[in-house]
């Protein structure tokens, strides 16, 4: 009969108290596991989703807003950029590919965010390790084509051939008459792309209200590039003449154009940039050069999305995560105190038991070890149960979470911090078991036997 089996016997003798204290530790650990898994998932999603792009370029404003709106679609876009600026970025000698992004509208059904972009968006790697989009069907090659994310397809029940309309951003109840047709459905990516609808930028720009009125466009372009309005009028003379002939500035104009929108009136909300370079170091150097160039001209901002999200995670979410982890740590600590109280209170009843063991030849350190083992078994047992419960919750709940939020959580994912839980519980168990164990150690055998 070894010390562990003796300790287990004592635990079994106080089954109700032992079970409750173990359960309290288990629930604390399960809660911690839940926080770690969710936090890990969100961190990974935030950090990795933007890693396919070297830069996000947008109007002057908040870099967080720029990245959150362009890549994560959880913020409103800052403002718009003139098309000519996009063309400059596209033709920049250090740019491999520039992908224009126009956002702000939503689907009429389900209110999913619309991303007006080029087919290149879906042929470009996204996320870490060069992940590629898998499209069932075709890309959005024509003006009125669309590709939808997996969650959009699931929630709205859309398939290839489905048609839908858009709600114009910022204007309540204004629904565009034109319909886009679903040409492809994305396989799940576990990124915000799953909840997005991609439409061909040409079609998106042709929708009423998406063009910049000619006079405003001239003024904005002149201001943006530091040129005179006269210079702009000379540069776009043909487009201005054609626009005047079509009179699109008349009140009540709400129909789409049947021709591609003139470049003067085109605008995008941001640009995803992939730089030239054989490796990440050269690409990063190119990105730095572009960023400093834009900074000098003071026209737009360019940010590294990974860096921005890292800053966001470290400055804001890391603190929230830390607070929640401290809270769950305190829960476990309180559970540890529960174990201490349970064992310590039982010591008075067990004094005679300890006396008997000592009379049978158990050394002081033996009874010390038995009590300490009890504490460790309760703590570690609670910890292991908590690990099973924590992951079990996600095994059982993952389909429900996916159904309700679209987040696909891997219940078997193990966060590095989980490996610290059991050693931490060993420390806790030793700490809370020490005093009762010392009481056992100091028990006077003769007087204990007379009890």
């Amino acid at each position: 009969m070894n010390l562990l089996s003796i300790a287990l016997k004592s635990i079994r003798q106080r089954l109700v108290a032992s079970s409750l204290t173990t359960l309290s530790v288990a629930l604390g650990v399960a809660l911690m596991i839940a926080v770690l898994i969710i936090n890990g998932y969100i961190s990974t999603m935030f950090r990795e989703t933007g890693t396919g792009y070297d830069l996000v370029v947008g109007p002057q404003g908040s870099r967080f807003q720029l990245v959150l709106s362009t890549i994560y679609r959880i913020e409103q876009p800052i403002e718009n950029l003139p098309w000519r600026f996009y063309e400059q970025m596209r033709d920049h000698p250090l740019v491999e590919r520039a992908i224009p992004i126009a956002i702000g509208d939503q689907t009429e059904e389900g209110q999913f965010p619309i991303v007006g972009t080029t087919p290149f968006y879906l042929t470009t790697s996204y996320g870490a390790r060069g992940k590629k989009f898998e499209v069932a069907g075709e890309n959005m090659n024509e003006a009125w084509d669309a590709v939808i994310g997996s969650e959009v397809a699931r929630k709205n029940g859309w398939t290839i051939g489905s048609q839908f309309r858009l709600i114009h951003g910022g204007q309540d109840d204004h629904i565009h008459d034109e319909r886009f047709t679903v040409r492809g459905v994305l396989a799940r990516t576990n990124t915000p792309n799953d909840r997005s609808v991609f439409v061909n930028l040409e079609g998106f720009l042709m929708l009423a209200g998406h063009e910049k009125p000619i006079e405003e466009a001239i003024a904005r372009e002149a201001a943006f590039f530091g040129e005179s309005e006269e210079q702009i009028r000379v540069r776009y003379a043909d487009q201005i003449r054609n626009a005047a002939a079509q009179d699109h500035s008349a009140p009540g104009h709400d129909h789409a154009h049947d021709q591609p929108l003139p470049t003067l009136q085109r605008q995008v909300t941001s640009i995803l940039v992939i730089c030239k370079g054989a490796d990440t170091v050269r690409r990063a150097a190119a990105a730095m050069s572009i960023m400093s160039g834009l900074k000098e001209r003071n026209q737009a901002i360019a940010v590294n999305p990974v860096q921005v999200m890292r800053d966001l995670m470290d400055n804001l979410l890391a603190n929230v995560r830390l607070a929640v982890l401290i809270l769950t740590g305190l829960i476990i600590l309180v559970s540890g105190v529960g174990i201490f109280v349970s064992i310590y209170n039982s010591m008075a009843d067990r004094r005679r038991e300890i006396g008997i063991m000592r009379a049978l030849g158990a050394q002081r350190r033996t009874v010390f070890a038995i009590i300490l083992l009890e504490s460790l078994v309760l703590c570690i047992g609670g910890g292991l149960l908590g690990l099973v419960l924590g992951h079990g919750m996600f095994i059982a709940g993952a389909p429900i979470i996916a159904d309700r939020t679209g987040l696909v959580i891997d219940p078997w994912h193990v966060e590095p911090l989980e490996f610290v839980i059991i050693p931490a519980l060993v420390v806790l168990g030793t700490f809370v078991g020490f005093l009762p164990a010392m009481t056992a150690y100091r028990t006077d055998v003769a007087s204990a036997l007379q009890q």
């Binding site: 009969m1 038991e353 049978l360 030849g361 050394q363 033996t366 055998v445 003769a446």
Partner: protein, 223 residues
Amino acid sequence: MSLKLRNIQKDYREPGGGILPVLRIADFQLAQGEQAALVGASGGGKSTLLNVIAGITEADAGQVIVDNVDVSRLPEPARDRFRAERIGIVFQTFNLLPAFTALENVLLGMSFSNKADPPFARRLLEQVGLDKRLQHRPSQLSVGEQQRVAVARALANRPRLMLADEPTASVDLAHQQNILSLIRSTCEEFQVSLLLVTHSQEVAAQFARVERLADFNRPEAAQ
């Protein structure tokens, strides 16, 4: 010689600060395999003497030699180990651990001497007539059965000396003789010396050697 006591002194400190002499034993011996009954008045120091012999309580002076080892000179851990290996104790109130079965209670005695021998534990319990009650907890056993488990446990490590402190005091008259016979016969069988404390004249009368504590313990000599 199984047990020798020489010039044993043991005092207790009274709450008022005074000293209460309990044991003053110049010489006491018990031969190997010998069985003796120790009688004396309540509060006369019988239990203290057994505790001193077992190494549970340290004597203030003198030598306690068990199986040719001076127990009083051993440091506490060694004394504990020695007690586990060489001395069997039967208590008045049996002192079985309630969470353990009869077999586990016997095995528990073995575990502290690192000599776990489950077949021998079973044999001992069969010897005391409990072969059908191995997996029963103390609460599921009669008083007589509990004391039999206690006897088996005391013999678990094949001790050289058995100390029994009023082993029949908690047992009804019908069982007293059975318990006593069991202790004496098993000690005889395993060649274990027996020092049995009792206040019962009937019990003491069954022993060839009966020692009155007052005859060889002179605490008043210290005053």
